[in-house]
Amino acid sequence: MNNQQSFWQLNKAVVLFALVALTMPLWFPLINGYSGLDTKIMIFCIFLVGFDILLGFTGYLSFGHAAFFGIAAYSTGLMLKNFSDNIIPAIIVAVIAATLVAIVIGLLTLKRTGIYFSILTLAFAEMFHSMAMAMLQTWTGGENGLTGMPTPMLFDIKMQGSAVFYFTAIMAILLFYIAKRIERSPVGLMMKAIKCNQTRLEYTGINARKYKLLAFVISAMYAAIAGALMVVYEPFVGHEFLGWHQSGEVVIMSVIGGVGTLVGPMIGAAFMLYFENVLSVDLGEQWLLVLGLIFMFVVIFMPGGFMEAVERIKKRFITTADGE
């Protein structure tokens, strides 16, 4: 089936994303986006694409992905500070650390239904948050956060300004491509089958838990890469990285954008960060309230998020065109 589709058909979304991402420094300032926010948007695109592999494919709603984001960020910070200012070993160690934690949490939380999963992922993330605040204070800096990292280096290149942006953008494009590959692979199909009807899948003799755990760990790895890049982008780790606000933000971004579409959550991330940093100037302290209301509106009336809105408009356009 796949062989008959051309490269362009298969990778249209990735190519378009690459075009939008790599030209971002050119057009983003035109809509009042400041330099640096584009990097942050790319970082969250990575986070959100990974999150959609879990939520969008398997339907499991995690309220604790801040744990992997935060653990990777702290690991990266500590590696840069104590081992080497080269970001490659730091990112690798960060991803390994977060992956190991994800395997343990995944084994514990995926034992039962999705309801348990949502509650327990939230709880475990809060556990890491309170650990960072108290027990591991000497490492994490507690309330003040982890500071004092050297300027991150990619071998001989100083990771500052546009160097960080292009590094992050290329990572985002690559990881988006991988996610697209996963989506149309047999493994991706299994993950989607879990969302459709897990019981039926299990009756066919397939070990659904294996695929759930795989989706969970892959999404945690994406979150970890995002967390590591966050420290490369801005050499600081705050305890908020681990907090439920961070997990909640990712959930909100996914839903506003359109769960299960991979592209949608990235649009959600871009929208929310843009909203938070640019549009919120007029709203002041109440921006989160407005965001909460938008989020509720989407959940109630447009569960498919932004992507569903696009589909609806398209459909209406096409039907009227047919009617004429």
Partner: protein
């Protein structure tokens, strides 16, 4: 751990007091979950509404009016929330229910932050509940001079009364019988011609009202700030999971267990921060259904 009887008594009381709040919030959560099958991420926000209402009425009109007004207001709020919002989500996936209540929690929290500011509002305890109680006057086995804040003991007593009232309502009345039957098999109840939806609406109001009671008495202990709701929600969720989702008895036992665990580990700060998660992990490994979780409930 070398511990005198005095210290042991104080740890027990603190454990009961910490557990009281968890029990009251978890009771509402598990009641709503058991009957409606809805995981209410806005339950912490209901508690938040309760403490802000309670502190406002208390500081303006006195504690008596706060006690009379806040629980019924929360009951009405719960009923309206069920009719206006939750009801639309019965046929939708569980994740959507979690999402919409999470959204509501953010909206409520931000509204309260907007109206009252982000800082703690002092909650003046009424004169009859202020001060300390001389425990050694009542408990002959205590040596010397042992005191405890009176308000915290009142909180424990209120929790016990509330729990008893909820159990009496569910086990001694016809209404309770129908609700318990509905928890078992809502579909069957409808086949028998019982209007279960109306009763579910009342259950939601009831869960919300318990959060109201918790707010009136818990406000002075937990502080009154916008972050409190979410801070209490996480341990309360764990109480529900440890007790067994939908099990009221389990919630009470687990709430007290968590309270005790937090109280007795207080001297060891590192253990104290993770103890409830450790207990959760152990319970999940040994009894995945929770202490008193019934078979077949959201398996």
């Amino acid at each position: 751990m070398d511990m005198t009887l005095n210290a042991f008594t104080l740890y027990i009381l603190t454990g009961l007091q910490l557990g009281s709040i968890f029990v009251l919030i978890a009771l509402g959560l598990t009641l709503i979950f058991g009957t409606l099958g809805v995981v209410n991420f806005a339950h912490g926000a209901l508690y938040l509404i309760a403490i802000y209402l309670a502190v406002s009425i208390n500081n303006a009109l006195g504690f008596g009016l706060a006690l009379i007004l806040v629980p019924p207001i929360l009951f009405i709020f719960g009923v309206l929330m069920e009719r206006g919002l939750i009801q639309r989500f019965y046929d939708r996936p569980h994740t959507d229910q979690i999402l919409v209540t999470f959204g509501l929690a953010i909206v409520i929290q931000e509204l309260l932050k907007w109206a009252f500011g982000a800082n703690n509002i002092p909650f003046a305890i009424p004169s009859w509940g202020n001060g300390i109680l001389m425990l050694h006057d009542y408990l002959p086995f205590l040596e010397g001079f042992v005191v405890y804040p009176k308000w915290r003991l009142i909180l424990v007593v209120v929790s016990i009364i509330t729990v008893a009232a909820v159990f009496a309502l569910l086990h001694l009345t016809r209404f309770g019988l129908v609700i318990r039957a509905g928890m078992r098999d809502a579909e069957m109840m409808q086949f028998l011609g019982v209007n279960i939806n109306r009763r579910f609406m009342i259950v939601f109001g009831l869960g919300s009202m318990i959060a109201g009671i918790a707010g009136v008495f818990g406000g002075p202990v937990t502080q009154v700030s916008p972050e409190v709701g979410m801070h209490l929600l996480v341990p309360s969720f764990l109480v529900v999971v440890i007790g067994g989702m939908g099990s009221l008895g389990g919630a009470v036992i687990a709430g007290v267990l968590i309270g005790m665990a937090q109280s007795f580990t207080a001297p060891y700060i590192n253990l104290n921060t993770v103890i409830i998660y450790l207990i959760t992990v152990v319970i999940l490994l040994v009894r995945p259904r929770g202490l008193m979780g019934a078979k077949g409930v959201f398996e």
